[in-house]
């Protein structure tokens, strides 16, 4: 089993350590990268999902329209929610391998520093 970088840490970092990592350029970069994926993805699926009850509630005629045989637009729209959910999940999985890489670099950096300090003492 692969050990995560955090795993080799015997004691938790001190307050100054946390603050230093939080302020570091790498960490700010990770947060920014995450934000540029998560915020638009969340807003997109939120909007797409809420359109379903809104359209069903306020445009029932449109949603009752038969599209394929007897199947209504409402049913197809509802089914499409599952597809959209799966696509968002897949995109997130793909994007997150990049987040993991960035996080690993930060940890490497931080833990490397801790080791150096311990070595100096």
């Amino acid at each position: 089993m692969k050990q995560l970088p955090g795993g080799c840490l015997q004691q938790r970092p001190q307050e100054a350590e946390w603050n230093r990592i939080a302020a570091s350029r790498e960490f700010q970069h990770l947060l920014a990268v995450k934000k540029t994926f998560i915020v638009p993805a969340f807003l997109f699926f939120l909007t797409y999902y809420l359109l379903l009850p809104i359209l069903i509630g306020y445009a029932p005629r449109l949603m009752s329209k038969k599209v394929i045989g007897s199947v209504t637009l409402a049913y197809l729209f509802a089914l499409s929610q599952f597809v959209v959910g799966w696509i968002v999940a897949w995109l997130y999985l793909r994007a997150s391998s990049r987040f993991d890489k960035l996080a690993e670099e930060i940890l490497h950096h931080a833990l490397g520093d801790v080791d150096d300090k311990e070595g100096a003492q």
Partner: protein, 533 residues
């Protein structure tokens, strides 16, 4: 021996074996509460899916679709889509910053005692609500299945309750997880079989199936009506329908992210990456299952018919009656046994989340200020609490009996979770200015607001006709709050209270603590590690 009993006994034997195996490995706290944090991604995905594919969804949602068509399917869509919220915002930070319960995340940088006390209270409330929904399904099933066999509703409830206590008390989270995995597999297989049989009934012509679903005949006010079950609006009709629908949507969307027994599962995996992958596993399983609920529900409406369903067991029985129509008593037996197994597993999951929260949050951290007075006190207290929760749920289930749709009841539990838990979890992870006053205000406003609104909603308030009906409202008056689901009011209320109280009070949390939380949440540094058995 009836076939259904045989299938059920096989399940019980297998799960007791699992419990025996797990009991030897569940002595220290991280093993008992979090299965040693060694559950893999697919295992946790099945367990999360199992927790969510409950009696309420298998019986309740299929039942709703079989009686009210397309509108019932919206419960499925919302339940599935909620997992996108968990995936994007909740699962990983939760895994990286907490230990056993969702309150761990709140207590991380806020004053722990008030926050944990309230979180334990709302966890118990939500678990109880959800448990009632499951028990009602169990009751309805027994009434249909075992009518005249000498096994009464009360006996079945006691059997379910005692088994569930054995799993939780002896086997802890490891046993509960594996019971859930086995059951999720059974439930999915069973659902696939019925879907194939439904489609076979229409010679695998989807067009014919949907054509029949658009012309369902049933009696209404003494007359035969023909209704299109693919058309929206049968359940949510104007004037209040559209708003109620959006309210339901909000409750489902954010509710799952606040359900304690789901959140707890993310502590059973070794790290945040596994937590993330397990959500995706769960989304694949839950999505496929929920899409199939529409085939089951519409199939029941067409093949069995709403009239027959209503007169033979009512709103939760669409699925089992469909199984009998397609595969005779043998299939009904299997389906019922699987449904029982489902209820059993979900009730066990709820019990362990409630007892963990009581032992870890309330007993150790609130009363004894985080100090165990003897080794493994938390586990001991949780085991005793599980006995208490189990006993209480047996009594409640016997007192309530089968009365209303379990899918609707479970959704109300989700509204409470969406209003009380979701805002404070989200704000404590992402908002620097959030403080203890904000968490206390958010939790209380969400909890009291949602429960208060449910009590004055059409679910509990209404005027029944003088003729004795099987379903009676608790309060005989016109509903004060017009919507069935409080989400559209109570979710914003939870957020507003949390934000306003944070901004109005001076007590800021230390910047360092928030930095620490952020670094932990995003990198996994210092997160709880897996333990070897």
């Amino acid at each position: 021996m009836p076939f259904s009993l045989l299938v059920f006994l096989l399940f019980v034997a297998a799960t007791l074996g699992i419990t025996l195996w797990a009991a030897k490995r569940s002595n220290v706290a991280s093993a008992y509460f979090a299965a040693g944090r060694q559950i893999t991604a697919w295992q946790n995905g099945f367990a999360v899916a199992g927790d969510f594919m409950s009696g309420a969804s298998f019986l309740g949602i299929v039942g709703l679709i079989s009686l009210q068509g397309f509108d019932g399917f919206l419960f499925s869509v919302g339940g599935f889509i909620a997992y996108v919220t968990i995936l994007l915002l909740i699962a990983e930070p939760l895994r990286n910053t907490g230990k056993f319960t969702m309150a761990d995340v709140l207590a991380y940088r806020l004053r722990p005692r008030p926050v944990r006390a309230l979180a334990a209270l709302s966890t118990l409330t939500i678990a109880t609500f959800y448990m009632i929904a499951q028990m009602i399904s169990a009751g309805a099933l027994v009434n249909l299945l075992l009518a005249g066999s000498g096994i009464t509703y009360n006996m079945a409830v006691v059997a379910v309750g005692v088994l569930m206590m054995v799993y939780v008390v002896c086997g802890g989270m490891l046993a509960t997880t594996w019971v859930q995995i086995v059951k999720a597999f059974l439930l999915l297989s069973c659902t696939v079989v019925i879907v194939v049989l439904v489609l076979a009934h229409f010679d695998f012509r989807l067009g014919n199936f949907f054509a029949s679903a658009s012309q369902v005949k049933y009696h209404q006010a003494g007359e035969i009506v023909v209704t299109d079950f693919l058309q929206p609006g049968l359940r949510y009709a104007p004037p209040n329908g559209p708003i109620d629908l959006i309210s339901l949507g909000l409750a489902l969307l954010f509710g799952c992210s606040g359900l304690p027994h789901i959140l707890m599962r993310f502590y059973t995996v070794p790290d945040a990456r596994t937590a993330r992958e397990s959500v995706v596993w769960a989304m694949v399983l839950i999505g496929s299952f929920f899409i199939m609920t529409s085939i089951l529900g519409l199939g029941a409406a067409v093949i069995v018919g709403p009239d027959y369903i209503l007169s033979h067991g009512g709103t939760n029985m669409g699925g089992p009656l469909l199984a009998r129509a397609l595969g005779g008593d043998a299939l009904l037996g299997v389906v019922s046994a699987v449904a029982f197994a489902t209820i059993l597993a979900v009730v066990a999951g709820l019990t362990i989340s409630a007892s963990t929260s009581f032992a870890h949050d309330f007993w150790i951290n609130v009363i004894h200020r985080g100090v165990e007075r003897r080794s493994n006190e938390t586990v001991l207290v949780a085991r005793i609490a599980a006995l208490g929760v189990g006993g209480a749920s047996i009594l409640l289930a016997i007192a309530l009996g089968p009365s209303s749709n379990s899918g609707v009841l479970a959704t109300l539990a989700m509204a409470v979770a969406a209003s009380a838990h979701f805002p404070v979890i989200l704000l404590s992870i992402f908002w620097r200015r959030f403080n203890t006053a904000g968490a206390v205000a958010g939790l209380s406003a969400g909890l009291i607001g949602s429960i208060g609104l449910i009590l004055i909603s059409p679910t509990f308030m209404g005027i029944d006709p003088p003729v004795a009906t099987s379903v009676r409202h608790l309060f005989q008056t016109t509903p004060w709050f017009p919507l069935e689901n409080p989400g559209i009011v109570s979710v914003p209320l939870g957020f507003l209270a949390a934000i306003a109280a944070s901004l109005l009070t001076r007590e800021g949390t230390s910047d360092s603590k928030f930095n620490e939380l952020r670094v932990r949440a995003n990198t996994g540094l210092g997160a709880e590690q897996a333990v070897a058995h």
